[in-house]
């Protein structure tokens, strides 16, 4: 599996502020997946990106795959306390053995 670096490691925001986490690779990625893990919970699949420059939205979440397919981002607009958790990216497709990034832990203060 390919390896990625995720930044930042931690992010504290006030409720209502926006949040972005980045996933960067030194090599071209075929696909990338994003997961969310709530405190004390297990990772939950959010989305898979496949195409160069792809942008997908899920309500307040916007996922992007870079034109060169070497980076990806997750942006949350107007964070809510329910967004608290750790967000992981993982390069690879559905049945690849995924090597997860170290994650970005998001804390939202009311």
């Amino acid at each position: 599996g390919q390896q990625v670096m995720q930044i930042p490691q931690y992010q504290h925001v006030q409720e209502g502020e926006d949040f972005t986490t980045y996933c960067n690779s030194s090599t071209t990625l075929s696909n990338i997946q994003w997961y969310k893990q709530r405190p004390g919970g297990h990772p939950v699949f959010l989305i898979q990106l496949v195409k160069s420059g792809e942008v997908k939205k899920q309500k307040r979440l916007t996922f992007q795959f870079g034109e060169a397919k070497k980076n990806s981002s997750l942006h949350i607009t107007a964070t809510q306390t329910t967004d608290v958790g750790t967000y992981f990216c993982a390069p690879g497709s559905n049945t690849d053995k995924l090597i997860f990034g170290t994650g970005t832990r998001l804390q939202v203060f009311p």
Binding site: Y35, P43, F45, N94, T95, K97, L98, I99, F100
Partner: protein
């Protein structure tokens, strides 16, 4: 979630004892994975399986073995538990177009 269960949910064991964790799925998925999660290390792949009796090593396989004699069960064994294996262990299955589905995890403490 997709009929995947892990057992036990919590376990405390002594150093040097063997421990087996079980992952059970009810939907006949071919691909199954074991990960461990530790603070500062994220999720690290231990072993994975592409089918019955078809397993392979992941990033951190030393000290672990796996078996898959039936499609629905993927067992992870710590042959002789050490304190460094204290962790949360997650099993996952791969579903086409839905990414991985994870079990609820097993919190293992080796004392």
């Amino acid at each position: 979630d997709a009929g995947i269960t892990q057992s036990p949910r919590h376990k405390v064991t002594e150093t040097g004892t063997p421990v087996t964790l079980r992952c059970h799925q009810t939907e006949n998925h071919r691909y199954m994975y074991w990960y461990r999660q530790d603070p500062g290390h994220g999720l690290r792949l231990i072993h994975y399986s592409y089918g019955v009796k078809d397993t392979d090593k992941g990033e951190v396989s030393d000290g672990y073995s796996v078996s898959r004699s039936k499609t629905e069960d993927f067992l992870l064994t710590l042959e002789s538990a050490t304190s460094s294996q204290t962790s949360v262990y997650f099993c996952a299955i791969a579903q086409l177009n839905y990414g991985y589905t994870f079990g609820s995890g097993t919190r293992l403490t080796v004392v």
